[in-house]
């Protein structure tokens, strides 16, 4: 049977069919739906972990216990998980372990566009790159087989256009996989220097064997046509087929280690050789190092994502498309978003805001303009402490702002640092009871698991107190006066403080009654427009279809010209 599936759905299906029984992840676009779909298969124990490092460590344990395991994350998640990643490359596995890295060329939804293929090379681990949904499914099984046969974790690297593109996938049956017995083996699993030296030798030997596998594995496939040759992998294969239908193509599915002999043979059969890949010259540099002449990045560049148009333009086959002059439509905080008031207040207090990653990163955009930095998950708190260390005046002029999911992901250790090293930092935890940015996933603070079961709910207040913070307050995100007062008092406090700003995400609760502008009272001062609410339009006029009745505009209006439905009519 064939079914339309996204790459992410297909990976989940692949895990199911290949007998995976444990899967862990932390959400992150474009990887999130992998675990959401895996959770639909009752035979797989699937979970959200608090962050990617923990997810991978859970995967390592499950593999030790003999299960087949899938761990998924977005590309920057592997930075967080890099520590265990680099060392399981040494220990190898028991049950097969595949790590899916979903890269985001073009940064549709990311803070950078790093090329995670280098994580395979850096670790000395095999790398698979599927070119469509069908392959995404098949490569999961293949990855697990390679993992077990060669005693190695495997990196399955996809990109946004694999993750979020759909195509027809042939479904198969699940093949149960019995747990392999766990055998105690300190030389393999206890990576103290004396043992690790031996295991590094194993990594090198394993790579030599994998290079032989790369020469014969059917997913490294030569398609001979004309005298122009192209070496490519992943979704770029599809673009090459569109733009250069007559070219001979060496399509690589296993892209590390490379099949040197086969590449040499292919190079000899063509007159000119291109390497077409997105982002870094990962294949190109290795092929050049073999002494083979190729053209690659001088054609396509290293920036952003490719597509058939860009490829055709970079090969000089087509003209670039004309620019269109239509106003951009950047993303915005939703109407009723509980983050809005926080940034309104911080902006009005003229504070420097060390920001973090989540929906609230949109607080950096006009008209709120209220965020100074956004680096990586968890960076807000440490960098606020750092500013203060450079010059103590920052204690009263800056705050750190971090979402609840992000705080539990990587905010606890920097807060501990603030307490331990005598900082005075004020931290606002924006607790909307969900991981909103990536589509409302649960986390340890929501009281539910990925499977929808009830779970213990972490008490943020107690948690923060246990880290040593004494000044803790809870404020309603819709109460601007209390927010303002709380922030003012806490930045002046001579010790660290945490303000937990509370309100569920507006998309998770039913809307309130829309607000209405009383035209007789409104003098068009424009203050409400500074909230940057999509429901409020110049004039001032409130779109009742969009408004969720949060009441912020009522609070900021100096003339009491905005009321709830009922107020205005009475």
């Amino acid at each position: 049977m064939k079914k339309i599936m996204s790459g992410n759905e297909a990976i989940a299906r692949g895990a199911y069919e290949a007998g995976v029984s444990v899967a862990a992840a932390y959400p992150g676009t474009p990887s999130t739906e992998i675990l959401e779909n895996i959770a639909q298969y009752p035979s797989i124990r699937a979970q959200w972990s608090p962050n990617e490092k923990v997810a991978l460590e859970v995967g390592i344990g499950a593999s030790l216990a003999g299960a087949r395991v899938l761990v998924a994350m977005k590309h920057v998640g592997l930075n967080v998980a890099a520590d265990p990643w680099m060392t399981i490359a040494y220990t190898g596995v028991n049950g097969g372990l595949v790590l899916v890295s979903a890269d985001d060329p073009g940064m549709h939804s990311s803070q950078n566009e790093q090329d995670n293929r280098f994580y395979a090379r850096m670790a000395g681990v095999p790398l698979l790159e599927p070119a469509d949904s069908q392959e995404a499914k098949e490569f999961v099984r293949l990855a697990l087989e390679i993992s077990e046969e060669y005693d190695t974790p495997v990196l399955l690297r996809i990109t946004t256009r694999i993750a979020h593109s759909k195509g027809l996938v042939e479904l198969g049956e699940r093949k149960e996989h019995d747990l392999r017995p766990y055998i105690k083996d300190p030389k393999k699993y206890v990576m103290i220097p004396g043992n690790a030296r031996g295991r590094h030798v194993a990594v090198v030997e394993r790579l030599a064997k994998l290079a032989r596998l790369a020469e014969e594995i059917p997913i490294n496939k030569v398609e001979m046509r004309g005298k122009l040759g192209v070496i490519t992998s992943g979704v770029c294969y599809q673009y090459v087929r569109e733009v250069l239908p007559e070219a001979s193509v060496f399509k690589l599915g296993l892209t590390y280690p490379l099949p040197e002999d086969a590449i040499r043979a292919f190079a000899e059969r063509v007159d000119e050789l291109f390497v077409i890949e997105e982002l870094e010259p990962f294949l190109e540099e290795q092929i050049r190092a073999m002494g083979i002449r190729v053209k690659g990045k001088e054609l396509t560049g290293v920036l952003g994502e490719l597509n058939q148009k860009r490829l055709a333009v970079s090969l000089g086959l087509e003209e670039p498309p004309p620019a269109v002059d239509v106003p951009p439509r950047p993303p915005v905080l939703c109407p009723g978003c509980p983050h809005r008031g926080v940034f309104y207040v911080l902006r009005r207090l003229r504070l420097t805001v060390l920001g973090d990653i989540g929906c609230y990163s949109l607080g950096a955009l006009p008209p709120l303009d209220a965020m100074d930095t956004c680096i990586c998950m968890g960076a807000s708190i440490g960098s606020a402490l750092g500013m203060e260390k450079a010059d103590s005046v920052w204690a009263e002029k800056s705050v750190a702002v971090i979402g609840d999911s992000t705080f539990l992901h990587s905010g606890m250790t920097p807060l501990l640092d603030v307490v331990y090293n005598g900082g005075r930092t004020t931290v606002l935890i924006l607790d909307n009871s969900t991981t909103a940015m990536t589509g409302h996933q649960d986390h340890p603070g929501t009281g539910r698991t990925l499977g929808g079961e009830a779970a213990p709910k972490v008490d943020l207040e107690k948690l923060v107190r246990a880290l040593g913070v004494r000044r803790i307050r809870r404020v309603d995100a819709y109460d601007l006066d209390s927010l303002r007062r709380a922030v003012r008092e806490e930045i002046e406090a001579p010790e660290p403080s945490v303000i937990i700003v509370t309100r569920p995400c507006a998309l998770k609760v039913p809307p309130g009654r829309p607000s209405v502008v009383d035209e007789a009272k409104c003098n068009n001062c424009g203050l409400c427009l500074r909230l940057g609410c999509p429901a409020i339009q110049e004039g001032a006029w409130i779109d009742s279809h969009l408004c969720r009745g949060c009441g912020l505009c009522r609070e900021v209006c100096p003339r009491e010209a905005i009321g709830g439905d009922a107020d205005v009519q009475s």
């Binding site: 549709h108 569109e242 058939q308 949109l362």
Partner: protein
């Protein structure tokens, strides 16, 4: 390969474009075509411009559509129609919801020309039609219905896919919205 057809569904995050794309892809697959679709998730979904690209034919390689090659541009809103208009290929059809959703903080956008009067365009008030069909949220179905009239895939297939994808209590109104769109799919003269 020239037989591959290209569709763009364009609009604003939250308008139901992802669901529309999913239905469309399933209908095309059920109609016997190879299908690929590419969509946008994450940050842009928060009220930003979104686009779902759909391609179908005997065999489809790339999931992405190229500018100047679009056969059917289905715009859920006028400003986004403008953003993508130059992607229409020769003989391509614009199907558009006449509403305008302004980018946050703007109340006016001067568009180069009023697309509602563009010759050869199917222009609809999808929200109103959907409301009359019993479900405002089914505006996406109205637009799909108009597209369906041009794709030549039997309505029976659309119904079957709808049945499998829409909760029972919304099925009737969605079906109605689809039919209403189908009935109004005639492009303006020009």
């Amino acid at each position: 390969m020239s037989k591959v057809k290209n569709i763009l569904l364009v609009g604003v995050g939250g308008q139901g474009i992802i669901l529309a794309g999913k239905l469309l892809a399933e209908v095309l697959a059920a109609g016997g075509f190879d299908v690929k679709l590419s969509e946008v998730h994450g940050m842009a979904q928060r009220g930003g411009s979104v686009v779902t690209q759909v391609r179908f034919g005997p065999q489809v390689y790339s999931p992405l559509v190229s500018p100047g090659k679009v056969d059917y541009l289905v715009a859920f809103e006028q400003i986004e129609a403008w953003r993508w208009l130059s992607w229409l290929g020769p003989g391509g059809l614009l199907i558009m919801d006449e509403q305008i959703i302004y980018p946050a903080g703007r109340t006016q956008v001067t568009l180069p020309e009023d697309l509602t009067g563009r010759p050869g365009t199917v222009c609809l008030n999808a929200r109103r039609i959907a409301e009359e069909a019993g479900l405002v949220k089914a505006a996406n179905m109205v637009l799909l219905g108009a597209l369906a009239a041009h794709l030549g895939i039997e309505l029976e297939i659309w119904y079957r896919v709808l049945e499998n994808s829409v909760p029972l209590k919304y099925l009737e109104s969605n079906r109605k919205a689809l039919e209403e769109g189908f009935a109004r799919a005639k492009p303006s003269a020009g």
